[in-house]
Symmetry: C2
Subunit: 167 residues, 2 copies
C-alpha cells in the first residue's frame, strides 16, 4: 500500500463563502489544526482561502423578459457578486490574522462552487480541503446535492467537513 | 454565531475496517494530526479506534436453505467475524504504537457500519471523525451509498474523509 509521509509543508485549502457554516469551518480549522500544533510543530502551513463566485447570468436576447436584464442590470448583478467576493475574503482574512504561524493565500474563481473547489484543491496541490457542511441554499441543495457531498466524493485529496454544532 | 474554542482534550474517532483505505486514513491522521503537532502541541489527543462488526446472519427456519445455515455454520461465520475484528484492531494498534503522545482506546460494536460509526462518534464525544473514503464493497455501495458519504452527512461532529492517492 501507499506509504504516508509526514507532510512538512502542508497546504490547506479552505472553501469560504458567505455562509456562517464556512466561517465556522475556517475557525475550526485554525483553532484545531493550526493553533493546537503549538510552537514545536514540524509542519509549516499554507492556508489558501478559495471563494467560488457564481458566473454572470446569461440571458437570451429572444427572452421576453430581456429588457429587464439590460446590460446595466447584468453589470449591476456582476458588481454585487464581485463586492460579495471582496467582503467574504475580507472577513476570512480578518479571522486568519491572529495566526502568525502560517502563510495565507487567496483565490477567487468564477464558476459553480462544486467544480471550482475540487479543481482548485487539485491545482493548488492541497494536502487537505476544509469546508462547511452547507453552501447552497435549501432548494439548490435538494436538486444538486450539497457542495460538501460533491467535494467529499470528487476531490482527490482528504476532505474535512466541519459542521456547526446545532445546540 | 457559535464561537470556536481550541480543543485542549481532543477526541479523535477513527473508523477502521479491513480495507486498505481505512488503514491509510489512520496513517494519514497519525502523521498529519498527531505527529505534525510536535512536542509543543497544546492539545492532548485521545484516539479511539472504532470497528463495526456485521451482525450475525439471521435465517428463517422456514427458508428452504435452512439446513445450510445450521447452528454450526452460523457459529462459524460469527467466529470468522470476531477473528476479523481482532485482526483489524491488532493491525490498527500496531500502527498507533509509534505515537507516544496520545492515548489509544478501542471499541468493537456490532451493527451496520454507517449507524455504528455515527452513533459511536456521538456517544464517545468525538471532536473529529476520521475515515477512509470506502468501506463497503462496490455492489453494496451502489445500493446504500458509501459509508463515508453517509457519515459525512449524518455525524454530528466534523468528519475527515481520507482518500488513498490513486497514483
Amino acid at each position: 500500500m501507499a506509504d504516508v509521509a509526514a507532510i512538512e509543508e502542508r497546504r490547506i485549502v479552505v472553501a469560504v463563502d458567505e455562509s456562517e457554516e464556512s466561517i465556522y469551518a475556517l475557525q475550526w480549522c485554525l483553532h484545531n489544526l493550526i493553533h493546537s500544533a503549538g510552537e514545536g510543530a514540524t509542519a509549516r502551513n499554507t492556508l489558501i482561502l478559495v471563494y467560488a463566485r457564481p458566473p454572470p447570468p446569461v440571458y437570451s436576447p429572444l427572452d421576453g423578459t430581456g429588457y429587464l436584464f439590460s446590460d446595466e442590470v447584468t453589470a449591476s448583478i456582476d458588481k454585487y457578486s464581485k463586492d460579495l467576493a471582496v467582503s467574504v475574503m475580507e472577513r476570512a482574512r480578518n479571522i486568519c490574522k491572529d495566526y502568525s504561524n502560517m502563510k495565507v493565500e487567496e483565490k477567487v474563481c468564477v464558476g459553480d462552487a462544486r467544480d471550482v473547489i475540487c479543481e482548485m484543491a487539485q491545482k493548488l496541490g492541497a494536502d487537505l480541503l476544509v469546508m462547511g457542511s452547507h453552501g447552497y441554499g435549501f432548494i439548490k441543495r435538494a436538486f444538486l446535492g450539497s457542495v460538501s457531498d460533491y467535494c467529499a466524493r470528487n476531490a482527490k485529496c482528504p476532505v474535512l467537513i466541519v459542521k456547526r454544532p446545532t445546540k
